[in-house]
Amino acid sequence: MSVRDPALVVRGLRKTYEAGTAPVRALRGVDLTVRAGEFVALMGPSGCGKSTLLHLLAGLDRPDEGTIALDGTRIEDLAPQRLARLRRRSVGLVFQFFHLIEHMSALENVALAALVAGARPQEATARARDLLDQLGLLDKARELPAALSGGQRQRVAIARALANRPTLLLADEPTGALDSDGAAEVLDLFRRLHALGQTILMVTHSREVADGAQRLVRMRDGRILLDGEVTSGSIEVPAELRAASGPWARP
């Protein structure tokens, strides 16, 4: 896949949840294209549909309407088995709260993802060591997650997400549970990954974190309101979105 090929194409995505007595229209027609090698930050207030969008992109939930093409494969109607195979091949996920397996070492957490992706045990171990080395955690390879700092845990989680060499790395508030040093560590890591050509879609509340991305997408009420390039400290807003104003205007 060339740098300009779309890694992800989303069209007309809608999703409504039944929450209590009233339905919640989480997504109301989302169109989004992420090209290979892009680093996209997705921002928006709580409840705007960011996490729902991420769930759908990862194949962890199904849309009511619309299409999702990941690596050129439509995933919205895939059977669970095929979805799982696609996820292990093409998607890496990073969570706000890390979600490492508590009883497995850092090395095993990373290697597990490689094993799931089909690597042989020796390959999985080598891949995990390599990733931990790249992320500066090789000396912590045998440690349990509980023995690591928040930033270290998140780096292990990122290593795990990269273990299957994913087409698309999805990250949901990866710095949300970290202190400023940890957040800076993770953001720097994402920039390095992006520089190496990794496609990243990152949900964040932090404008500072979003500034580290190449492109910023703002959501509100289940729709995308703003989509533009991030230049040094500002967003290059495309002409079609320049009408957006009010709370979405850059301060």
Binding site: P80, R87, T125, R142
Partner: protein, 784 residues
């Protein structure tokens, strides 16, 4: 200031407010746990109530019937001995009714002994369980023992009989024709009493019978109550033995007035059955109790885990851990009271249960017997247990999880081909988050498997004992009492007889004066079966084989020396060469104590004027019944009924099956619950696994690995442990009865356990696997 007041109110009323909040949110769950724990946990004190009734049945009957301290039968030709008894040293009271031996008219040849008279009320007063007592004026009315009623002499029977004379008794070994008066016995009641047999005949007549037949008996039965002095028994025995020596009888060979002490000599058959029952009930209570606590603990762990955020808020508001735990105790209290009340009800309801198994035959007061005291203790105990478990589980779930603290990483190799195996093994080794440690689950499962295996194995051993008379030296098609040579020779020539052994029985004296039954066998035809438990049969006059019961009591093993005293008073050392079960024809314990060669018997046995010989006849297949019927028409045959000791155990054959069923249900429920709860606690890990790309099949396999990690160690440890426990227990029971203590290993059943436990555990995991498949991974991960 307002803050201080607020804190003050919080410290005093906070726990109550929190308890109310917990109750509002989870009252139904707590109530359900209370009901389940009360009903299931109540089975533990209820089992105690049944155990108490079972264990005390014999002793309560002993008291209810005013069982005598000593008894014997004194021949009619030595009335001086009977006359002296009431005034002998150590005797506080005595009853000396006249005794008869009667031959029942018709075929087969059957004899019965009988006493009649007016009991004093506080000495030998059998409990009537059917019919009525004899009319004091009726000359023919009798009551019979339950054993007699079960073997044909039942309530309402009218039996023409001919009494034996003392001369007839003297001719036991040479044959006789009953020469006493003829009369008729009418059975008007069935009575319950421990220690029937020998000096307490199975037939008891009233004063009318005694008056009508006075002076025609073969002697008098003597029943004695000792006085309260510590050496009463010894003084009475000494005086009685001296009196017997002063007044020899013409029938002392066959009617030796040997003293029996029914109160001080425990009935081994009763002891063995009682022990088996109590162990069974104890095992039942243990498993049910552990199961109830496990279900309660897992349920309350869930409640405690749900309350973790609330505890954080409470801590922020200034509530101490103790106050938060106190609030959980308060919230649990109503459900705990429900549990206690239900448990007390279960205990009282258990009062409708009679003593279990054979011990029901000793219950002096059949019917409802509630255990109020046990209910009063058991109910509050369960209430307290409920509250305690609630507090402990809350404390357990609130403590910092071990997994959240730095700890040593696993040092095992990562090289595992299957990610599901890798994840499953890691999770199995570490246990679920804030759940029971995996070692506890494995140990509980091991105990359950061991309990099931032990119960099944003991059940198989019990069935084998009952079904194979050879093991208790039974199985002969006919047993001729007082066998005479012409009859034996005729049987040896009879082609229907496959084998025949002639046994001579007597008593051997120990250095301390104790008597041991001793037999010597002579094979007259074929190869009669011998139940050799260990070692070999005696082959020399100074060799002896012992009954397993005697071997256990005297701690005798092959190669040991058993000191005996020859009739002339010289010591005689006999070398033990084996353990063997040899048939015994009287109503005593199962199996003769000793087996010697004929020369060995002659060297140590109390001499008799004529040898007492018994022929054990084994017929060719298919000919046994006809041969026995033919012999019974003209000769006295020993009843081939199952001995009391075996009969008591035979009454228990259903118990292992019931116990196994209970164990399977309780342990199975506990294991299923544990696996389901464990899988639910690992929902987050399974969701992470799914996010990494694991297929539903891999998630299912991971859960299966978790189940196997519990079930396989439980089987590997539980099966040998259960067999070992069964071996120990069965050896205790079997040797107490007097048979070999080797167990019957039910290979098929054990193979079923080995296969079913892991397979069942794996099958159970399909439930949480299906649930996880339906539940989006995002729901388990919560906030990302």
């Amino acid at each position: 200031m307002r803050t201080r007041e607020g804190r003050g109110r919080l410290s005093s009323g906070g726990p109550i407010l929190v308890a109310r909040a917990v109750l509002r949110e989870r009252w139904w769950a707590l109530l359900a746990l209370g009901v389940v724990f009360g009903l299931v946990g109540g089975l533990v004190p209820a089992a105690g109530a049944v155990a108490e009734r079972t264990a005390t049945a014999y002793t309560r009957l002993v008291e209810a019937v005013h069982l005598d301290d000593a008894r014997t039968i004194v021949p009619a030709d030595v009335p001086e001995v009977v006359a002296e008894v009431p005034t002998m040293p150590g005797a506080a009271a005595a009853w000396t009714p006249e005794a008869w031996i009667v031959q029942l008219d018709g075929s087969p040849v059957r004899f019965s002994s009988l006493i009649a008279g007016t009991p004093p009320g506080d000495l030998v007063a059998p409990v009537l369980v059917a019919g009525r007592a004899p009319d004091p004026a009726a000359p023919d009315e009798v009551v019979v023992s339950e054993r007699s009623a079960e073997t044909g002499v039942s309530l309402g029977a009218v039996l023409p009989v001919t009494m034996l004379t003392l001369d007839n008794v003297a001719d036991f070994a040479v044959g006789f024709t009953a020469a006493g008066p003829r009369t008729t016995l009418r059975v008007v009641g069935v009575a319950r009493m421990p220690s029937w047999g020998n000096a307490l005949p199975d037939v008891v007549g009233g004063p009318g019978f005694a008056a009508a037949h006075a002076g025609t008996g073969i002697g008098h039965a003597v029943y004695v109550r000792f006085d309260d002095t510590p050496d009463a028994a010894a003084r009475f025995t000494e005086a009685f033995t001296a009196a017997v020596a002063r007044h020899p009888s013409v029938v002392s060979d066959y009617l030796a007035p040997a003293l029996e002490t029914p109160r001080t000599t425990p009935d081994q058959a009763v002891v063995a059955a009682e022990r088996a029952l109590l162990v069974g009930i104890g095992l039942f209570a243990l498993v049910v109790g552990l199961g109830a606590v496990q279900v309660l603990g897992l349920g309350l762990l869930r409640t405690g885990a749900a309350a973790r955020p609330a505890r954080s808020v409470e801590a922020a508001l200034g509530m101490t851990l103790g106050q938060s735990l106190g609030a959980r105790a308060l919230a649990a209290f109503p459900a705990a009271v429900v549990a206690g009340v239900l448990a007390a009800g279960v205990v009282i309801a258990a009062g409708t249960l009679e003593p279990l198994g054979s011990q029901a035959r000793f219950e002096p007061a059949p019917g409802f017997r509630p255990q109020w005291a046990l209910a009063a203790v058991g109910g509050p105990a369960l209430t307290a247990t409920f509250v305690l478990v609630a507090v402990l589980t809350a404390a357990l779930t609130w403590r910092t999880s071990a997994a959240e603290e730095p700890g040593p990483a696993p040092r095992r190799s990562l090289v595992r081909r299957w990610p599901a195996l890798l994840l499953g093994s890691r999770l199995a080794g570490a246990g679920g988050r804030r759940g029971l440690p995996p070692a506890v689950t494995v140990l509980a499962a091991t105990a359950a498997v061991a309990g099931i295996v032990a119960t099944v194995t003991v059940g198989a051993s019990l069935d084998r004992l009952v079904e194979e008379p050879r093991r208790w030296a039974g199985g002969a098609d006919a047993v001729l009492v007082d066998a005479r040579e012409p009859d034996v020779a005729r049987l040896v020539d009879d082609p229907r007889v496959q084998s025949l052994a002639l046994s001579e029985t007597s008593y051997a004296r120990e250095p301390d004066g104790g008597l041991l039954g001793i037999a010597a066998q002579t094979v007259r035809k074929g190869t009669p079966p011998v139940e050799l438990v260990s070692g070999r049969l005696p082959a020399a006059p100074d060799e002896i084989a012992v009954n397993p019961r005697l071997a256990a009591q005297h701690q005798l093993a092959v190669g040991d020396v058993l000191p005996l005293v020859a009739p002339d008073g010289t010591p005689r050392a006999m070398t033990v060469v084996g353990a063997v079960v040899v048939a015994r024809e009287d109503y005593g314990e199962l199996g003769q104590d000793l087996l010697a060669t004929p020369d060995g018997l002659a060297a140590v046995a109390v001499p008799r004027a004529l040898p007492l010989l018994t022929a054990h006849v084994f017929a060719v297949p298919g000919a046994g019944a006809g041969l026995a019927a033919e012999l019974a028409a003209e000769l006295e045959l020993s009843p081939t009924a199952t001995p009391d000791a075996v009969r008591n155990l035979a009454d228990l054959t259903r118990l292992p099956g019931i116990l196994t069923l209970v164990l399977v249900v309780v342990a199975g429920t506990g294991m299923v619950h544990s696996l389901l709860v464990g899988a639910r606690r690992l929902a987050r890990e399974m969701a992470v696994f799914t996010v990494l790309g694991a297929t539903p099949g891999q998630v299912r396999t991971t859960l299966a690995v978790l189940a196997v990690a519990t079930a396989v160690p439980a089987v590997l440890l539980g099966v040998p442990l259960g067999v070992g426990v069964a071996r120990l227990f069965w050896w205790e029971v079997a040797t107490a009865v007097g048979v070999g203590g080797d167990i019957a290993v039910p290979v098929g059943a054990l193979a079923l356990v080995v296969a079913a436990v892991p397979l069942g555990a794996v099958l159970v995991t399909t439930i949480p696997a299906l649930r996880l498949r339906r539940l989006p991974a995002t729901a388990s991960l919560g906030a990302w």
